[in-house]
């Protein structure tokens, strides 16, 4: 599975408030820190495995630990309409 942003959805740096926001048609939300890390890996090219590898490396954590979290977060972001797979 290769997640990408749904049409009209993008991650945006809110400079004035020093945070990242997910901008979507007629709504926006502020992702928590872990969701943000996942969203920053989503580029339409990386598949699920590549995202897990990337985050395991970045946080120097065992792959198995990261994998469960990432799957859960991706499901949630798909359910919220931010990502499509």
């Amino acid at each position: 599975m290769t997640p990408r942003f749904a049409p009209g959805v993008r991650l945006h740096h809110d400079v004035a408030r020093a945070r990242w926001v997910v901008m979507a048609p007629e709504r926006m939300f502020v992702p928590d820190e872990t969701a943000l890390e996942v969203l920053r890996m989503v580029d339409g090219a990386r598949d699920l495995d590549a995202i897990i590898d990337g985050l395991a490396e970045k946080f120097d954590a065992p792959r198995e630990v990261i994998a469960g979290d990432v799957r859960g977060l991706l499901d949630d972001l798909v359910a919220r309409g931010a990502l499509v797979t």
Partner: protein, 355 residues
């Protein structure tokens, strides 16, 4: 003081349609007085600097401007999420492709009714409905997300189920069912537009059922109109709290209807920065927060939830913009609003036009 989240950029008052509820002021600004492309580009940068995340490119009909592609690109270059609010009748595949290349994020398309005859009577333009349908198809073919905006009132509410069908058929992911707000042109047409209580209750049920039936396919935004509610809406999330608008003339407004309040003066983006207008202008500070309130709003537990309702509506009905919105059941002027509901029932429209 909060930073604003969104800018409404009213690029022009020109529009091929003539909707009798148009939210533009009764005194429309002419093309020769409109802001130039570079002025809009500067306004977008200023808006992003003070915290805006998104811009609604609106009008009038924004695509009536020949520089709409450059304007869209400037909004994206400033870092704003870019939403085009359009009647759709001037869109073709080439323009949509250019807008998309310029970075347009989302299209919000208006429909006036569920069938061509009704839609064209209300919008006052022949052939508009078919062109909107074609525009919706082109937007979806380009892969852009589409929201349909259906303005509803006494003369089309019975077609709400069919408007929902249209949203699905035209490929919209969202449908905004927007009740008319009564100032400006809509106030002049209130007798022809105000729905009955029965119409409203039926519409609310229709929306609830449709939300269930189309979960996961279509999101429906719907707010009960305040002429039939006990509490007013939180207009603009509070005056000078989350939102600002710039009119075609350059006037910087706390709400797109604010110019309907007689006697108020607004800063102009030609000589005042958005930051100065937001932070220091009398116009923005006049009804900001709760300090300006009188009873019954003063001290009311809802004061920071609905901010006393709509200033434009308070002015339109009572002549005093600092009054409690008569849409509130606690307002001493509530009778004005109830009388309007009781008296409504005209059919003829007064269409919007340049004076």
């Amino acid at each position: 003081m909060n930073a604003p989240l969104a800018l409404l950029a009213e690029l022009t008052h020109r529009c091929p349609l003539r909707c009798p509820y148009c939210s533009n002021p009764v005194e429309l600004t002419r093309a020769s007085e409109e802001l130039a492309t570079e002025e809009w580009a500067r306004i977008f940068r200023e808006a992003a600097e003070i915290g805006c995340l998104q811009v609604h490119l609106s009008g009038g009909e924004p695509t009536a401007r020949r520089d709409i592609v450059e304007i869209t690109a400037a909004a994206r270059a400033a870092g704003l999420y870019t939403n085009l609010i359009t009647a759709g009748v001037l869109l073709d595949a080439a323009l949509i492709a250019r807008l998309q290349a310029a970075g347009l994020d989302h299209v919000q398309l208006s429909v006036q009714d569920a069938d061509a005859a009704g839609a064209e009577r209300i919008g006052g333009m022949r052939g508009a409905h078919a062109r909107k349908e074609a525009a919706a198809r082109l937007v979806r073919e380009a892969g852009l997300p589409l929201t349909l905006n259906a303005v509803v009132h006494r003369q089309n509410l019975h077609n709400l189920p069919r408007l929902i069908d249209i949203a699905l058929a035209w490929g919209a992911a969202r449908l905004e069912v927007a009740h008319v707000q009564y100032y400006g042109w809509a106030l002049a047409n209130r007798d022809a537009l105000l729905p009955t209580r029965a119409q409203l209750d039926e519409a609310t049920q229709t929306v609830q059922a449709a939300r269930e039936a189309h979960r996961g396919r279509l999101v429906i935004d719907y707010v009960v109109p305040d002429y039939h509610a006990a509490r007013p809406k939180s207009c603009m999330g509070g005056w000078g709290n989350r939102f600002l608008a710039v009119a075609p003339s350059g006037r910087i407004l706390p709400c797109h209807a604010a110019e309907s309040i007689a006697g108020m003066e607004f800063p102009n983006a030609r000589e005042t920065s958005l930051r100065a207008a937001w932070e220091d202008s009398d116009a923005f500070n006049r009804f900001r927060g709760t300090g300006w309130m009188r009873e019954p709003c003063r001290g009311c537990e809802h004061a920071e939830r609905d901010w006393g309702g709509c200033r434009c509506q308070a002015f339109a009905l009572t002549g005093d913009a600092a009054a409690t919105d008569p849409a509130c059941a606690l307002s001493p002027d509530r009778a004005l609003l109830l009388a309007a509901v009781a008296e409504a029932g005209a059919t003829a429209f007064r269409y919007r036009e340049f004076g």
